[in-house]
């Protein structure tokens, strides 16, 4: 590097250093924080992740033509559920519904059931509506609702798409044990759901 070029580079660097601007490591100040809030909220606990995982595995077992519809319907229904929480925030939805869909989805995976198209799509839509509503309830008055709901829909779409693709890729090895491993995961999801229903019943009916 020539001497003049080096001096210019040092001068430019000094000029930049001497005029500091605020550095935002996190994008809250850019008003995109609520989008990431929506993305992270469903991932912060197993309530959403477990049934989404089971639904993705179930999609990988279905006929590809049917499974593809889920990728469109699921995020749309998430948005629908979240909007419903804005319109009717006090709607009571029994937690048993969430647990029931976990059990049903898990059992369908365990049985490697190829569901009729309306049943499969209805199950996916129901899960998305329930979870969209539940996630939408996390919004406060200060939350940018549009960004938050977009975040929830985006993470739901990405999660289900990625895990469906991973499961399909996993099965493509052709070995029988691969399908069994996927079925076993569904069995465990159903087991967790069954136990949680028991806990829910115990909570609902004090002993």
């Amino acid at each position: 590097m020539k001497k003049e070029t080096l001096i210019r580079a040092i001068a430019a660097a000094l000029a930049l250093v001497s005029v500091p601007a605020s550095a935002d490591a996190h994008l809250i100040n850019t008003t995109l924080g609520d989008f990431y809030g929506g993305v992270l909220y469903p991932l912060s606990g197993p309530d959403d992740v477990v049934p989404w995982f089971a639904l993705a595995i179930l999609a990988s077992i279905q006929d590809p033509r049917n499974a593809r519809w889920l990728l469109f319907v699921f995020p749309v229904a998430l948005v629908g559920g979240a909007l419903l929480s804005v319109v009717t925030p006090a709607l009571f939805i029994s937690p048993a519904w969430n647990l029931a869909v976990i059990v049903v989805t898990g059992l369908a995976v365990a049985a490697a059931a190829k569901l009729p198209f309306p049943v499969f799509l209805g199950l996916g839509t129901l899960i998305a509506l329930l979870h969209g509503y539940h996630n939408g309830q996390a919004m406060t008055q200060d939350t940018d609702r549009l960004l938050f709901i977009c975040g929830v829909a985006a993470v739901g779409y990405v999660f289900v798409t990625l895990f469906t693709a991973l499961a399909i890729s996993f099965r493509q090895g052709g070995r029988e044990w691969r399908l069994i491993a996927l079925r076993a995961s569904g069995s465990w999801v159903a087991a967790v759901g069954v136990i949680m229903i028991g806990l829910q019943l115990r909570t609902a009916v004090p002993m």
């Binding site: 069994i180 076993a184 069995s187 465990w188 159903a190 136990i195 949680m196 028991g198």
Partner: protein
């Protein structure tokens, strides 16, 4: 002003529930050896490998239901210890019963293991996370047993696996004596 210590991690919430659930089958040696033995025994023949990992959790969930509902299932500790003995001996002696008999035996034991997990659930920081944690741990323990069981393809490995079964049976025996109050 009086200062109280501040704790960044308070042992509550999802992470604590997940961790305690995950550690429950692992820190309980009686659970641990029985779960590994199920995986080992699964190597008795291909159908067993395929059936047991799918059937086991569902049957275990029934036991879990008893546990969370507060139902008093008698002889839980004794049955868990006996499961270690029985499954360990089955591996050690290379017993190959009909599949239905193996599934029935494992199923009965699964109820008691599930019951023990279920009893802990209502006290968990996050019950669902606790359930997911103990499920992941149990799956991994089964997987350990299945992978160790791959050794049966070699003569020396088969001897090692049978010796492992004997060790599991011995550990189960210790827990049986402990459950009966004969050792401390």
């Amino acid at each position: 002003m009086p200062l109280a210590p501040a704790f960044a991690h308070t042992g509550t919430g999802t992470s604590a529930g997940l961790l305690s659930g995950f550690m429950h089958p692992i820190t309980g040696v009686d659970h641990l050896v029985a779960m590994v033995a199920v995986g080992l025994w699964g190597q008795l023949g291909n159908p067993a490998i395929w059936i047991l990992p799918i059937a086991f959790p569902l049957v275990m969930a029934i036991g879990g239901l008893f546990g969370v509902s507060g139902f008093d299932l008698p002889f839980t500790e004794i049955m868990i210890a006996i499961s270690g003995i029985a499954l360990g001996l089955a591996v050690a002696m290379n017993i190959r019963p009909p599949l239905w008999a193996a599934a029935l035996l494992v199923g009965v034991f699964a109820v008691f293991h599930g019951y023990a997990h279920g009893r802990e659930l209502p006290e968990a920081a996050d019950p669902l996370a606790f359930g997911v944690g103990f499920v992941i741990a149990t799956v991994l323990l089964h997987l350990c047993g299945i992978l160790i069981g791959v050794l049966t393809r070699w003569p020396v490995g088969a001897q090692l696996v049978r010796a492992s079964g004997a060790a599991i049976g011995a550990i189960g025996g210790y827990f049986l004596l402990s459950a009966m109050g004969l050792v401390t």
